[in-house]
Symmetry: C2
Subunit: 229 residues, 2 copies
Amino acid sequence: LASLSSAPPPADAPERVDGADAHPGFARRPRYHHGDLREALITATHQLVVERGGEHFTLADACRVAGVSTAAPYKHFRDKQELLEIVCQRGFDRMTEKIVGAVQLNGSGTRAAIEAMGRAYVTFARTEPALFRHMFSPQGEPSAGDDLPGKVCFATVIAEIERYSATVGIATDARALAVQLWTFVHGLSCLLIDGAYEKVAPDVDIDHLLSVATAGLLDGAAQAATRRA
Amino acid sequence: LASLSSAPPPADAPERVDGADAHPGFARRPRYHHGDLREALITATHQLVVERGGEHFTLADACRVAGVSTAAPYKHFRDKQELLEIVCQRGFDRMTEKIVGAVQLNGSGTRAAIEAMGRAYVTFARTEPALFRHMFSPQGEPSAGDDLPGKVCFATVIAEIERYSATVGIATDARALAVQLWTFVHGLSCLLIDGAYEKVAPDVDIDHLLSVATAGLLDGAAQAATRRA
DNA sequence: TGTACATCAGTGAACGCGCGTTCACTGATGTAC
DNA sequence: TGTACATCAGTGAACGCGCGTTCACTGATGTAC
């Protein structure tokens, strides 16, 4: 009987994440209308993808986390797939932000910016490996003919490297160089989060690897341009 | 009635793959003992992973393909996971074969061998992208503390690049160079099968990209070694 | 300010489904006598 | 060569489960008068 009066919000759902809370100071009691269920479900999906990976994501789990019935999502989303696509898209958005930030911090068009950009890319992957994997998995791709999620992100990387190449004067094949650097950074991210380096070269210094390879590719391209001239 | 006598092997299971067939010339009729169900199930799992991806693999599907009840696998495997692990391991075995073959074809210790090895790596990934993805996914990793599946494959790549570095004389940091090249080739494979290049640089020439980057990294490392000397 | 009403975000129960795994069993095969 | 028996790879039915999605509903909210 005592327990009845002392516990108004039922603590059934684990790790429940409520949406907008109108009266933060008051005892939080579940309201019929959620406030912003759409965002809450996206957040829940993001959280679960980060925790368990996209291939184990379950719509029912997301509902549990958001504290809502399993039918509720269909008022906001087409189906489970749409939520996974949105989380993928947001992942790329955040990654782009990180990359742009790194460039701005180091001055666009500089060699330092390129390295920083690569480091941001890798850091993102290693911070949330499951999300990173989801972003590049077929599950994250939009079923409709929408603009593909990573496009803006990739284009940002390429554009910045091209800018540097142009500045420094190895304009020939600037795009090819950009693709090379991007490829390297992506490979680094994948092998790192898959634990592949640990298996075979446990002593590898990732930071060093990144800067050495960046230098190697940039110098290589510069030399090739010189040879051509 | 006519159909009864003319169709002894029931054609219920789609794409059924029978195991060892004792009398190839005779009308194939299902026997109680399969012959080599273990291999047949591994083959079926491989086929399904290739077709639909590891995250959509279903033990029941594999049984259907092998033409066997859903309880049968438990006479040969611990559980579903074990089959997925074996297919992952076999994938790495075949990849290693391809890589070793490419090296032998070009002469171990040569620059051509390194490029060919990279090309074999990428070709493997693009030929069976779903398997490649499965091999690097957490699902493929053994739950037991077994030797990790990609270890031999990676070690082969690294060793061959080290051999070349030693031969040519850029012995300093040979291992670091090996890791760089491997990283690049892996990134290339991933971005290629994810369709990332198409999105952002649809005109990219993969073969050219591979040889240019290989050259760049090798030259970069050689130059660094020279500078140090 | 009060009342009637339309809206629509949420409920909760149900659906059909197919999964992974277990169980007692059955029948083909190999071996010992 | 024939028979009795142990083995064990397969069966088929069942289990408990949790999923994604649909449905008629309900009740909070905003608006028109």
